[in-house]
Symmetry: C3
Subunit: 205 residues, 3 copies
Protein backbone atom coordinates (compact mmCIF):
# COMPACT_ATOMS: atom_id res chain seq x y z
CA UNK A 1 0.00 0.00 0.00
CA UNK A 2 1.46 3.33 -1.06
CA UNK A 3 1.40 6.65 0.72
CA UNK A 4 -1.46 8.98 -0.20
CA UNK A 5 -0.63 12.67 -0.34
CA UNK A 6 -3.28 15.21 0.53
CA UNK A 7 -2.90 18.01 -2.00
CA UNK A 8 -2.54 21.54 -0.66
CA UNK A 9 -5.59 22.60 -2.59
CA UNK A 10 -7.79 20.19 -0.64
CA UNK A 11 -6.45 21.64 2.58
CA UNK A 12 -7.71 25.12 1.59
CA UNK A 13 -11.26 23.88 1.00
CA UNK A 14 -11.16 21.89 4.24
CA UNK A 15 -10.02 24.92 6.20
CA UNK A 16 -12.68 27.19 4.75
CA UNK A 17 -15.25 24.52 5.57
CA UNK A 18 -13.92 24.39 9.11
CA UNK A 19 -14.03 28.19 9.40
CA UNK A 20 -17.69 28.15 8.34
CA UNK A 21 -18.47 25.31 10.76
CA UNK A 22 -17.21 27.49 13.61
CA UNK A 23 -19.93 29.94 12.53
CA UNK A 24 -22.58 27.22 12.84
CA UNK A 25 -21.38 26.63 16.41
CA UNK A 26 -21.31 30.38 17.12
CA UNK A 27 -24.84 30.95 15.80
CA UNK A 28 -26.02 28.02 17.94
CA UNK A 29 -24.46 29.54 21.07
CA UNK A 30 -26.12 32.86 20.25
CA UNK A 31 -29.48 31.07 20.13
CA UNK A 32 -28.77 29.49 23.54
CA UNK A 33 -27.76 32.88 24.96
CA UNK A 34 -31.04 34.50 23.97
CA UNK A 35 -33.20 31.61 25.20
CA UNK A 36 -35.26 31.98 28.39
CA UNK A 37 -33.29 31.13 31.56
CA UNK A 38 -29.89 30.87 29.81
CA UNK A 39 -26.77 30.37 31.95
CA UNK A 40 -25.25 33.50 30.43
CA UNK A 41 -21.78 33.30 32.02
CA UNK A 42 -21.26 29.71 30.86
CA UNK A 43 -22.49 30.35 27.33
CA UNK A 44 -20.35 33.50 27.00
CA UNK A 45 -17.32 31.40 27.99
CA UNK A 46 -18.14 28.77 25.36
CA UNK A 47 -18.55 31.58 22.81
CA UNK A 48 -15.11 32.95 23.68
CA UNK A 49 -13.67 29.45 23.14
CA UNK A 50 -15.44 29.12 19.79
CA UNK A 51 -14.13 32.53 18.77
CA UNK A 52 -10.55 31.51 19.66
CA UNK A 53 -10.88 28.35 17.59
CA UNK A 54 -12.19 30.41 14.66
CA UNK A 55 -9.16 32.71 15.03
CA UNK A 56 -6.84 29.71 14.87
CA UNK A 57 -8.47 28.48 11.66
CA UNK A 58 -8.11 31.97 10.16
CA UNK A 59 -4.42 32.06 11.09
CA UNK A 60 -3.91 28.56 9.66
CA UNK A 61 -5.38 29.73 6.34
CA UNK A 62 -3.19 32.85 6.25
CA UNK A 63 -0.13 30.75 7.10
CA UNK A 64 -0.98 28.25 4.37
CA UNK A 65 -1.39 31.06 1.81
CA UNK A 66 1.97 32.49 2.75
CA UNK A 67 3.76 29.14 2.43
CA UNK A 68 2.04 27.83 -0.71
CA UNK A 69 3.32 28.50 -4.20
CA UNK A 70 0.20 27.69 -6.22
CA UNK A 71 -3.07 28.58 -4.53
CA UNK A 72 -6.51 27.42 -5.78
CA UNK A 73 -7.52 31.05 -6.32
CA UNK A 74 -5.91 34.47 -5.90
CA UNK A 75 -4.05 35.01 -2.63
CA UNK A 76 -5.92 38.26 -1.96
CA UNK A 77 -9.25 36.48 -2.39
CA UNK A 78 -8.28 33.70 -0.01
CA UNK A 79 -7.22 36.34 2.45
CA UNK A 80 -10.44 38.28 2.05
CA UNK A 81 -12.67 35.19 2.34
CA UNK A 82 -10.83 34.14 5.52
CA UNK A 83 -11.24 37.64 7.02
CA UNK A 84 -14.88 37.76 5.95
CA UNK A 85 -15.65 34.52 7.78
CA UNK A 86 -13.70 35.72 10.81
CA UNK A 87 -15.66 38.98 10.88
CA UNK A 88 -18.95 37.08 11.22
CA UNK A 89 -17.61 35.24 14.28
CA UNK A 90 -16.38 38.48 15.86
CA UNK A 91 -19.78 40.10 15.41
CA UNK A 92 -21.71 37.15 16.85
CA UNK A 93 -19.28 37.06 19.78
CA UNK A 94 -19.98 40.78 20.28
CA UNK A 95 -23.72 40.13 20.54
CA UNK A 96 -23.17 37.50 23.25
CA UNK A 97 -20.93 39.94 25.14
CA UNK A 98 -23.50 42.71 24.89
CA UNK A 99 -26.26 40.51 26.32
CA UNK A 100 -23.92 39.57 29.19
CA UNK A 101 -22.66 43.09 29.94
CA UNK A 102 -25.74 45.24 29.33
CA UNK A 103 -28.14 43.05 31.32
CA UNK A 104 -31.25 44.09 29.39
CA UNK A 105 -34.48 43.61 31.38
CA UNK A 106 -36.10 41.57 28.57
CA UNK A 107 -35.34 40.56 25.02
CA UNK A 108 -38.11 41.16 22.44
CA UNK A 109 -39.10 37.95 20.63
CA UNK A 110 -38.27 39.50 17.24
CA UNK A 111 -34.57 39.27 18.18
CA UNK A 112 -34.92 35.48 18.20
CA UNK A 113 -36.13 35.62 14.58
CA UNK A 114 -32.88 37.37 13.70
CA UNK A 115 -30.88 34.61 15.41
CA UNK A 116 -32.81 32.00 13.42
CA UNK A 117 -31.83 33.80 10.20
CA UNK A 118 -28.22 33.79 11.40
CA UNK A 119 -28.33 30.05 12.02
CA UNK A 120 -29.71 29.48 8.53
CA UNK A 121 -26.97 31.71 7.02
CA UNK A 122 -24.29 29.78 8.92
CA UNK A 123 -25.59 26.42 7.65
CA UNK A 124 -25.74 27.65 4.05
CA UNK A 125 -22.23 29.06 4.29
CA UNK A 126 -20.84 25.82 5.75
CA UNK A 127 -22.56 23.85 2.98
CA UNK A 128 -21.19 26.03 0.18
CA UNK A 129 -17.51 25.99 1.20
CA UNK A 130 -16.72 22.50 -0.21
CA UNK A 131 -18.42 23.58 -3.46
CA UNK A 132 -15.79 26.30 -4.00
CA UNK A 133 -13.67 23.54 -5.52
CA UNK A 134 -15.99 22.98 -8.47
CA UNK A 135 -17.49 26.50 -8.42
CA UNK A 136 -20.79 24.74 -9.21
CA UNK A 137 -24.24 25.61 -7.85
CA UNK A 138 -23.06 28.76 -6.09
CA UNK A 139 -25.99 30.74 -7.50
CA UNK A 140 -28.60 29.25 -5.15
CA UNK A 141 -26.41 30.06 -2.16
CA UNK A 142 -26.10 33.77 -3.12
CA UNK A 143 -29.79 34.07 -3.84
CA UNK A 144 -30.76 32.45 -0.55
CA UNK A 145 -28.28 34.51 1.52
CA UNK A 146 -29.56 37.65 -0.16
CA UNK A 147 -33.13 36.65 0.57
CA UNK A 148 -32.28 36.02 4.23
CA UNK A 149 -30.42 39.32 4.47
CA UNK A 150 -33.43 41.17 3.03
CA UNK A 151 -35.71 39.42 5.53
CA UNK A 152 -33.29 40.35 8.33
CA UNK A 153 -33.32 43.95 7.18
CA UNK A 154 -37.11 44.15 7.26
CA UNK A 155 -37.22 42.51 10.71
CA UNK A 156 -34.58 44.94 11.92
CA UNK A 157 -36.49 48.02 10.84
CA UNK A 158 -39.60 46.73 12.62
CA UNK A 159 -37.59 45.90 15.75
CA UNK A 160 -36.20 49.45 15.90
CA UNK A 161 -39.59 51.06 15.19
CA UNK A 162 -41.01 48.98 18.05
CA UNK A 163 -38.19 50.08 20.39
CA UNK A 164 -39.06 53.70 19.52
CA UNK A 165 -42.79 53.21 20.13
CA UNK A 166 -42.67 54.67 23.64
CA UNK A 167 -43.18 51.30 25.31
CA UNK A 168 -39.58 51.07 26.60
CA UNK A 169 -37.44 53.32 28.82
CA UNK A 170 -34.66 55.27 27.08
CA UNK A 171 -31.81 53.26 28.62
CA UNK A 172 -33.49 49.97 27.71
CA UNK A 173 -34.00 51.22 24.15
CA UNK A 174 -30.27 52.02 23.91
CA UNK A 175 -29.28 48.55 25.12
CA UNK A 176 -31.69 46.66 22.87
CA UNK A 177 -30.92 48.86 19.86
CA UNK A 178 -27.21 48.04 20.21
CA UNK A 179 -27.98 44.32 20.43
CA UNK A 180 -30.38 44.47 17.47
CA UNK A 181 -27.79 46.36 15.38
CA UNK A 182 -25.07 43.83 16.17
CA UNK A 183 -27.44 41.02 15.13
CA UNK A 184 -28.21 42.78 11.87
CA UNK A 185 -24.50 43.45 11.42
CA UNK A 186 -23.84 39.71 11.76
CA UNK A 187 -26.37 38.92 9.03
CA UNK A 188 -24.76 41.61 6.84
CA UNK A 189 -21.37 40.01 7.50
CA UNK A 190 -22.72 36.73 6.08
CA UNK A 191 -23.86 38.65 3.00
CA UNK A 192 -20.36 40.10 2.64
CA UNK A 193 -18.97 36.54 2.65
CA UNK A 194 -21.46 35.66 -0.11
CA UNK A 195 -20.31 38.71 -2.08
CA UNK A 196 -16.67 37.62 -1.77
CA UNK A 197 -17.59 34.12 -2.97
CA UNK A 198 -19.47 35.69 -5.88
CA UNK A 199 -16.47 37.85 -6.82
CA UNK A 200 -14.14 34.84 -6.70
CA UNK A 201 -16.51 32.91 -8.98
CA UNK A 202 -16.73 35.85 -11.42
CA UNK A 203 -12.92 36.07 -11.52
CA UNK A 204 -12.31 32.35 -11.93
CA UNK A 205 -15.05 31.83 -14.53
CA UNK B 1 -29.81 49.77 -45.21
CA UNK B 2 -27.68 47.45 -43.10
CA UNK B 3 -28.17 46.24 -39.59
CA UNK B 4 -26.48 48.25 -36.87
CA UNK B 5 -25.04 46.28 -34.00
CA UNK B 6 -24.93 47.84 -30.58
CA UNK B 7 -21.55 46.88 -29.12
CA UNK B 8 -21.52 45.24 -25.69
CA UNK B 9 -19.29 48.00 -24.39
CA UNK B 10 -21.95 50.62 -25.08
CA UNK B 11 -24.45 48.50 -23.16
CA UNK B 12 -22.25 48.70 -20.03
CA UNK B 13 -22.10 52.49 -20.10
CA UNK B 14 -25.84 52.68 -20.76
CA UNK B 15 -26.58 50.40 -17.83
CA UNK B 16 -24.37 52.35 -15.44
CA UNK B 17 -26.08 55.53 -16.60
CA UNK B 18 -29.45 53.91 -15.97
CA UNK B 19 -28.33 52.76 -12.49
CA UNK B 20 -27.31 56.33 -11.64
CA UNK B 21 -30.59 57.71 -13.01
CA UNK B 22 -32.48 55.49 -10.56
CA UNK B 23 -30.54 57.37 -7.87
CA UNK B 24 -31.78 60.72 -9.23
CA UNK B 25 -35.33 59.37 -8.93
CA UNK B 26 -34.63 58.01 -5.43
CA UNK B 27 -33.15 61.29 -4.17
CA UNK B 28 -36.19 63.11 -5.58
CA UNK B 29 -38.57 60.80 -3.72
CA UNK B 30 -36.58 61.38 -0.53
CA UNK B 31 -37.06 65.13 -0.98
CA UNK B 32 -40.83 64.60 -1.42
CA UNK B 33 -40.94 62.37 1.68
CA UNK B 34 -39.40 65.04 3.88
CA UNK B 35 -41.55 67.85 2.52
CA UNK B 36 -44.36 69.31 4.63
CA UNK B 37 -47.66 67.39 4.31
CA UNK B 38 -46.18 64.48 2.31
CA UNK B 39 -48.39 61.46 1.56
CA UNK B 40 -45.86 59.19 3.24
CA UNK B 41 -47.47 55.82 2.42
CA UNK B 42 -47.69 56.64 -1.30
CA UNK B 43 -44.14 57.99 -1.52
CA UNK B 44 -42.73 54.99 0.37
CA UNK B 45 -44.45 52.70 -2.16
CA UNK B 46 -42.94 54.63 -5.08
CA UNK B 47 -39.54 54.40 -3.37
CA UNK B 48 -39.90 50.61 -3.05
CA UNK B 49 -40.71 50.46 -6.79
CA UNK B 50 -37.66 52.60 -7.62
CA UNK B 51 -35.50 50.38 -5.43
CA UNK B 52 -36.75 47.25 -7.26
CA UNK B 53 -35.95 48.83 -10.61
CA UNK B 54 -32.47 49.70 -9.38
CA UNK B 55 -32.03 46.06 -8.29
CA UNK B 56 -32.99 44.89 -11.76
CA UNK B 57 -30.42 47.18 -13.36
CA UNK B 58 -27.75 45.86 -10.96
CA UNK B 59 -28.65 42.26 -11.83
CA UNK B 60 -28.58 43.09 -15.55
CA UNK B 61 -25.04 44.46 -15.16
CA UNK B 62 -23.85 41.38 -13.21
CA UNK B 63 -25.46 39.10 -15.81
CA UNK B 64 -23.80 41.02 -18.64
CA UNK B 65 -20.38 40.78 -16.93
CA UNK B 66 -20.80 37.05 -16.51
CA UNK B 67 -21.75 36.49 -20.16
CA UNK B 68 -19.26 38.89 -21.81
CA UNK B 69 -15.78 37.87 -22.84
CA UNK B 70 -14.16 41.29 -23.21
CA UNK B 71 -15.37 43.89 -20.72
CA UNK B 72 -14.59 47.64 -20.98
CA UNK B 73 -12.74 47.48 -17.66
CA UNK B 74 -11.91 44.80 -15.07
CA UNK B 75 -14.77 42.51 -14.11
CA UNK B 76 -14.21 43.14 -10.41
CA UNK B 77 -14.40 46.89 -10.96
CA UNK B 78 -17.64 46.62 -12.90
CA UNK B 79 -19.00 44.50 -10.11
CA UNK B 80 -17.88 46.93 -7.45
CA UNK B 81 -19.24 49.99 -9.28
CA UNK B 82 -22.60 48.25 -9.73
CA UNK B 83 -22.73 47.31 -6.02
CA UNK B 84 -21.64 50.82 -5.03
CA UNK B 85 -24.51 52.40 -6.98
CA UNK B 86 -26.93 49.83 -5.56
CA UNK B 87 -25.78 50.61 -2.00
CA UNK B 88 -26.74 54.28 -2.42
CA UNK B 89 -30.27 53.27 -3.43
CA UNK B 90 -30.59 50.88 -0.48
CA UNK B 91 -29.54 53.60 1.94
CA UNK B 92 -31.93 56.21 0.53
CA UNK B 93 -34.72 53.62 0.63
CA UNK B 94 -33.84 53.01 4.28
CA UNK B 95 -34.25 56.71 5.09
CA UNK B 96 -37.74 56.74 3.55
CA UNK B 97 -38.65 53.64 5.54
CA UNK B 98 -37.37 55.17 8.77
CA UNK B 99 -39.47 58.33 8.30
CA UNK B 100 -42.52 56.12 7.66
CA UNK B 101 -41.95 53.70 10.54
CA UNK B 102 -40.56 55.96 13.28
CA UNK B 103 -43.18 58.69 12.87
CA UNK B 104 -40.96 61.50 14.19
CA UNK B 105 -42.93 64.45 15.58
CA UNK B 106 -41.04 66.95 13.39
CA UNK B 107 -38.10 66.97 11.02
CA UNK B 108 -35.44 69.68 11.61
CA UNK B 109 -34.91 71.86 8.52
CA UNK B 110 -31.21 70.94 8.43
CA UNK B 111 -32.21 67.45 7.26
CA UNK B 112 -33.60 69.01 4.09
CA UNK B 113 -30.16 70.51 3.39
CA UNK B 114 -28.75 66.98 3.49
CA UNK B 115 -31.37 65.80 0.98
CA UNK B 116 -30.43 68.70 -1.33
CA UNK B 117 -26.80 67.56 -1.20
CA UNK B 118 -27.97 64.03 -2.04
CA UNK B 119 -29.91 65.28 -5.05
CA UNK B 120 -26.84 67.15 -6.28
CA UNK B 121 -24.65 64.02 -5.79
CA UNK B 122 -27.16 61.93 -7.75
CA UNK B 123 -27.19 64.38 -10.67
CA UNK B 124 -23.38 64.53 -10.79
CA UNK B 125 -23.14 60.74 -10.68
CA UNK B 126 -25.70 60.33 -13.48
CA UNK B 127 -23.82 62.91 -15.56
CA UNK B 128 -20.43 61.23 -15.10
CA UNK B 129 -21.45 57.67 -16.04
CA UNK B 130 -21.41 58.22 -19.84
CA UNK B 131 -17.97 59.85 -19.44
CA UNK B 132 -16.53 56.54 -18.17
CA UNK B 133 -16.13 55.61 -21.83
CA UNK B 134 -13.56 58.32 -22.54
CA UNK B 135 -12.29 58.58 -18.92
CA UNK B 136 -12.16 62.33 -19.59
CA UNK B 137 -13.08 65.13 -17.17
CA UNK B 138 -13.58 62.81 -14.23
CA UNK B 139 -11.50 65.08 -11.99
CA UNK B 140 -14.19 67.75 -11.58
CA UNK B 141 -16.70 65.09 -10.58
CA UNK B 142 -14.49 63.70 -7.79
CA UNK B 143 -13.63 67.14 -6.50
CA UNK B 144 -17.29 68.21 -6.45
CA UNK B 145 -18.51 64.98 -4.79
CA UNK B 146 -15.78 65.33 -2.18
CA UNK B 147 -16.77 68.94 -1.58
CA UNK B 148 -20.43 67.92 -1.16
CA UNK B 149 -19.48 65.09 1.16
CA UNK B 150 -17.43 67.46 3.32
CA UNK B 151 -20.35 69.90 3.44
CA UNK B 152 -22.66 67.00 4.40
CA UNK B 153 -20.28 65.98 7.13
CA UNK B 154 -20.21 69.46 8.64
CA UNK B 155 -24.05 69.71 8.45
CA UNK B 156 -24.32 66.29 10.06
CA UNK B 157 -22.16 67.22 13.05
CA UNK B 158 -24.24 70.35 13.62
CA UNK B 159 -27.50 68.38 13.28
CA UNK B 160 -26.37 65.91 15.95
CA UNK B 161 -25.07 68.64 18.26
CA UNK B 162 -28.47 70.33 17.93
CA UNK B 163 -30.29 67.06 18.73
CA UNK B 164 -28.16 66.78 21.88
CA UNK B 165 -28.84 70.37 22.96
CA UNK B 166 -31.58 69.39 25.39
CA UNK B 167 -34.36 70.78 23.21
CA UNK B 168 -35.69 67.33 22.20
CA UNK B 169 -37.00 64.35 24.18
CA UNK B 170 -34.70 61.30 24.33
CA UNK B 171 -36.91 59.11 22.13
CA UNK B 172 -37.24 61.87 19.53
CA UNK B 173 -33.45 62.32 19.57
CA UNK B 174 -33.00 58.60 18.89
CA UNK B 175 -35.40 58.65 15.94
CA UNK B 176 -33.95 61.79 14.35
CA UNK B 177 -30.35 60.69 14.96
CA UNK B 178 -31.03 57.44 13.09
CA UNK B 179 -32.58 59.34 10.19
CA UNK B 180 -29.73 61.89 10.14
CA UNK B 181 -27.14 59.09 10.15
CA UNK B 182 -28.84 57.27 7.29
CA UNK B 183 -28.86 60.52 5.29
CA UNK B 184 -25.15 61.05 5.96
CA UNK B 185 -24.54 57.38 5.11
CA UNK B 186 -26.23 57.95 1.75
CA UNK B 187 -23.93 60.89 0.99
CA UNK B 188 -20.94 58.74 2.02
CA UNK B 189 -22.19 56.01 -0.32
CA UNK B 190 -22.02 58.51 -3.20
CA UNK B 191 -18.45 59.30 -2.20
CA UNK B 192 -17.63 55.57 -2.26
CA UNK B 193 -18.94 55.43 -5.83
CA UNK B 194 -16.66 58.37 -6.69
CA UNK B 195 -13.72 56.52 -5.12
CA UNK B 196 -14.47 53.42 -7.20
CA UNK B 197 -14.62 55.55 -10.36
CA UNK B 198 -11.30 57.13 -9.35
CA UNK B 199 -9.69 53.72 -8.83
CA UNK B 200 -10.92 52.50 -12.22
CA UNK B 201 -9.47 55.62 -13.86
CA UNK B 202 -6.13 55.14 -12.06
CA UNK B 203 -6.01 51.51 -13.23
CA UNK B 204 -6.99 52.20 -16.82
CA UNK B 205 -4.73 55.25 -17.24
CA UNK C 1 31.00 65.68 -6.43
CA UNK C 2 28.15 64.45 -8.61
CA UNK C 3 24.47 65.05 -8.37
CA UNK C 4 22.48 62.51 -6.38
CA UNK C 5 19.04 61.64 -7.73
CA UNK C 6 16.30 60.71 -5.30
CA UNK C 7 14.47 57.78 -6.89
CA UNK C 8 10.68 57.99 -7.16
CA UNK C 9 10.37 54.84 -5.09
CA UNK C 10 12.02 56.53 -2.11
CA UNK C 11 9.53 59.37 -2.40
CA UNK C 12 6.63 56.92 -1.95
CA UNK C 13 8.05 55.52 1.29
CA UNK C 14 8.82 59.03 2.52
CA UNK C 15 5.29 60.18 1.80
CA UNK C 16 3.69 57.20 3.54
CA UNK C 17 5.96 57.86 6.52
CA UNK C 18 4.86 61.51 6.49
CA UNK C 19 1.18 60.46 6.29
CA UNK C 20 1.65 58.23 9.34
CA UNK C 21 3.49 60.99 11.21
CA UNK C 22 0.45 63.23 10.78
CA UNK C 23 -1.42 60.50 12.67
CA UNK C 24 1.08 60.70 15.55
CA UNK C 25 0.38 64.45 15.72
CA UNK C 26 -3.39 63.87 15.50
CA UNK C 27 -3.42 61.27 18.26
CA UNK C 28 -1.38 63.65 20.43
CA UNK C 29 -3.90 66.46 19.89
CA UNK C 30 -6.70 64.07 20.79
CA UNK C 31 -4.94 63.32 24.08
CA UNK C 32 -4.62 67.08 24.77
CA UNK C 33 -8.31 67.59 23.94
CA UNK C 34 -9.45 65.01 26.49
CA UNK C 35 -7.11 66.25 29.23
CA UNK C 36 -8.51 68.19 32.20
CA UNK C 37 -8.84 71.93 31.54
CA UNK C 38 -8.05 71.73 27.82
CA UNK C 39 -8.40 74.88 25.68
CA UNK C 40 -10.83 73.08 23.40
CA UNK C 41 -11.25 75.78 20.73
CA UNK C 42 -7.48 76.12 20.24
CA UNK C 43 -6.86 72.38 20.11
CA UNK C 44 -9.73 71.84 17.66
CA UNK C 45 -8.16 74.49 15.40
CA UNK C 46 -4.76 72.74 15.54
CA UNK C 47 -6.51 69.46 14.76
CA UNK C 48 -8.18 71.00 11.69
CA UNK C 49 -4.72 72.21 10.55
CA UNK C 50 -3.23 68.74 11.07
CA UNK C 51 -6.12 67.21 9.14
CA UNK C 52 -5.52 69.62 6.22
CA UNK C 53 -1.83 68.72 6.15
CA UNK C 54 -2.74 65.02 6.13
CA UNK C 55 -5.09 65.69 3.19
CA UNK C 56 -2.24 67.36 1.31
CA UNK C 57 0.03 64.37 1.85
CA UNK C 58 -2.74 62.05 0.61
CA UNK C 59 -3.21 64.17 -2.51
CA UNK C 60 0.56 64.25 -3.10
CA UNK C 61 0.62 60.42 -3.00
CA UNK C 62 -2.31 60.13 -5.42
CA UNK C 63 -0.68 62.67 -7.74
CA UNK C 64 2.62 60.78 -7.62
CA UNK C 65 0.87 57.48 -8.43
CA UNK C 66 -0.85 59.06 -11.40
CA UNK C 67 2.38 60.53 -12.80
CA UNK C 68 4.72 57.58 -12.13
CA UNK C 69 5.26 54.76 -14.59
CA UNK C 70 6.78 52.14 -12.30
CA UNK C 71 5.42 52.14 -8.76
CA UNK C 72 6.99 50.17 -5.87
CA UNK C 73 3.79 48.15 -5.51
CA UNK C 74 0.39 47.98 -7.24
CA UNK C 75 -1.24 51.35 -7.91
CA UNK C 76 -4.50 50.20 -6.30
CA UNK C 77 -2.64 49.20 -3.14
CA UNK C 78 -0.84 52.53 -2.91
CA UNK C 79 -4.19 54.22 -3.34
CA UNK C 80 -5.83 52.07 -0.70
CA UNK C 81 -3.00 52.51 1.83
CA UNK C 82 -3.14 56.29 1.32
CA UNK C 83 -6.93 56.32 1.83
CA UNK C 84 -6.60 54.03 4.85
CA UNK C 85 -4.18 56.41 6.55
CA UNK C 86 -6.38 59.38 5.64
CA UNK C 87 -9.44 57.67 7.14
CA UNK C 88 -7.70 57.39 10.53
CA UNK C 89 -7.04 61.15 10.54
CA UNK C 90 -10.64 61.92 9.58
CA UNK C 91 -11.96 59.78 12.42
CA UNK C 92 -9.66 61.30 15.04
CA UNK C 93 -10.61 64.77 13.78
CA UNK C 94 -14.25 63.75 14.20
CA UNK C 95 -13.68 62.83 17.86
CA UNK C 96 -12.16 66.26 18.56
CA UNK C 97 -15.12 67.92 16.85
CA UNK C 98 -17.60 65.87 18.86
CA UNK C 99 -15.98 66.85 22.16
CA UNK C 100 -16.11 70.51 21.08
CA UNK C 101 -19.70 70.46 19.78
CA UNK C 102 -21.46 68.11 22.22
CA UNK C 103 -20.04 69.71 25.37
CA UNK C 104 -20.31 66.55 27.50
CA UNK C 105 -20.49 67.30 31.25
CA UNK C 106 -17.59 64.93 32.00
CA UNK C 107 -15.42 62.41 30.17
CA UNK C 108 -15.05 58.97 31.81
CA UNK C 109 -11.40 58.08 32.45
CA UNK C 110 -11.72 54.91 30.35
CA UNK C 111 -11.88 57.13 27.25
CA UNK C 112 -8.32 58.26 28.00
CA UNK C 113 -7.21 54.60 27.86
CA UNK C 114 -8.60 54.45 24.34
CA UNK C 115 -6.62 57.56 23.37
CA UNK C 116 -3.44 55.97 24.76
CA UNK C 117 -4.06 52.93 22.55
CA UNK C 118 -4.53 55.27 19.60
CA UNK C 119 -1.22 57.01 20.32
CA UNK C 120 0.54 53.63 20.46
CA UNK C 121 -1.08 52.57 17.15
CA UNK C 122 0.02 55.83 15.51
CA UNK C 123 3.63 55.35 16.64
CA UNK C 124 3.73 51.75 15.42
CA UNK C 125 2.26 52.76 12.08
CA UNK C 126 4.78 55.59 11.64
CA UNK C 127 7.60 53.19 12.51
CA UNK C 128 6.50 50.52 10.02
CA UNK C 129 6.12 52.75 6.95
CA UNK C 130 9.86 52.95 6.11
CA UNK C 131 10.00 49.14 6.47
CA UNK C 132 7.58 48.74 3.53
CA UNK C 133 10.65 49.06 1.31
CA UNK C 134 12.24 45.84 2.54
CA UNK C 135 8.93 44.17 3.56
CA UNK C 136 10.91 42.87 6.56
CA UNK C 137 9.69 42.56 10.15
CA UNK C 138 6.12 43.47 9.33
CA UNK C 139 4.79 40.54 11.36
CA UNK C 140 5.43 42.13 14.76
CA UNK C 141 3.60 45.27 13.65
CA UNK C 142 0.46 43.35 12.64
CA UNK C 143 0.48 41.29 15.79
CA UNK C 144 0.88 44.34 18.01
CA UNK C 145 -1.80 46.38 16.18
CA UNK C 146 -4.17 43.43 16.46
CA UNK C 147 -3.41 43.10 20.15
CA UNK C 148 -4.10 46.82 20.68
CA UNK C 149 -7.30 46.62 18.67
CA UNK C 150 -8.49 43.68 20.78
CA UNK C 151 -7.67 45.61 23.96
CA UNK C 152 -9.55 48.62 22.57
CA UNK C 153 -12.53 46.45 21.79
CA UNK C 154 -12.69 45.08 25.33
CA UNK C 155 -12.33 48.60 26.81
CA UNK C 156 -15.06 49.81 24.49
CA UNK C 157 -17.56 47.18 25.59
CA UNK C 158 -16.90 48.05 29.23
CA UNK C 159 -17.22 51.77 28.52
CA UNK C 160 -20.63 51.24 26.89
CA UNK C 161 -21.83 48.86 29.64
CA UNK C 162 -20.84 51.55 32.17
CA UNK C 163 -22.73 54.24 30.22
CA UNK C 164 -25.81 51.99 30.33
CA UNK C 165 -25.51 51.34 34.08
CA UNK C 166 -28.09 53.97 35.00
CA UNK C 167 -25.49 56.36 36.42
CA UNK C 168 -25.78 58.85 33.53
CA UNK C 169 -28.68 60.83 32.05
CA UNK C 170 -29.96 59.66 28.65
CA UNK C 171 -28.65 62.69 26.74
CA UNK C 172 -25.22 62.38 28.37
CA UNK C 173 -25.18 58.65 27.46
CA UNK C 174 -25.90 59.54 23.83
CA UNK C 175 -23.07 62.08 23.69
CA UNK C 176 -20.48 59.87 25.37
CA UNK C 177 -21.52 56.79 23.38
CA UNK C 178 -20.94 58.70 20.13
CA UNK C 179 -17.52 59.85 21.33
CA UNK C 180 -16.61 56.33 22.53
CA UNK C 181 -17.69 54.82 19.20
CA UNK C 182 -15.64 57.33 17.22
CA UNK C 183 -12.60 56.48 19.37
CA UNK C 184 -13.12 52.77 18.77
CA UNK C 185 -13.66 53.49 15.07
CA UNK C 186 -10.28 55.25 15.00
CA UNK C 187 -8.55 52.20 16.50
CA UNK C 188 -10.36 50.00 13.94
CA UNK C 189 -9.14 52.33 11.20
CA UNK C 190 -5.55 51.65 12.32
CA UNK C 191 -6.27 47.92 12.10
CA UNK C 192 -7.58 48.39 8.56
CA UNK C 193 -4.27 50.07 7.65
CA UNK C 194 -2.44 47.04 9.12
CA UNK C 195 -4.65 44.73 7.03
CA UNK C 196 -3.81 46.69 3.87
CA UNK C 197 -0.09 46.45 4.70
CA UNK C 198 -0.52 42.71 5.27
CA UNK C 199 -2.28 42.28 1.92
CA UNK C 200 0.48 44.19 0.12
CA UNK C 201 3.10 41.98 1.75
CA UNK C 202 1.18 38.81 0.79
CA UNK C 203 0.95 40.02 -2.82
CA UNK C 204 4.57 41.09 -3.12
CA UNK C 205 6.00 38.01 -1.40
Amino acid sequence: MGLRFRPVETTFYDQFTQAAQHLVVGAGLLAEMLAEGADEEAIAQRMRDAEHQADETTHAIVKLVNSTFVTPFDREDIYSLASGLDDVMDMMDEVVDMVLLYEPKMLPAALLDQVELLQRCAELTAAVMPRLRSMQSLGEYWIEINRLENAGDRNHRRIIANLFSGEFKAMEVLKLKDIAEALEGSIDAFEKVANIVEQIAVKES
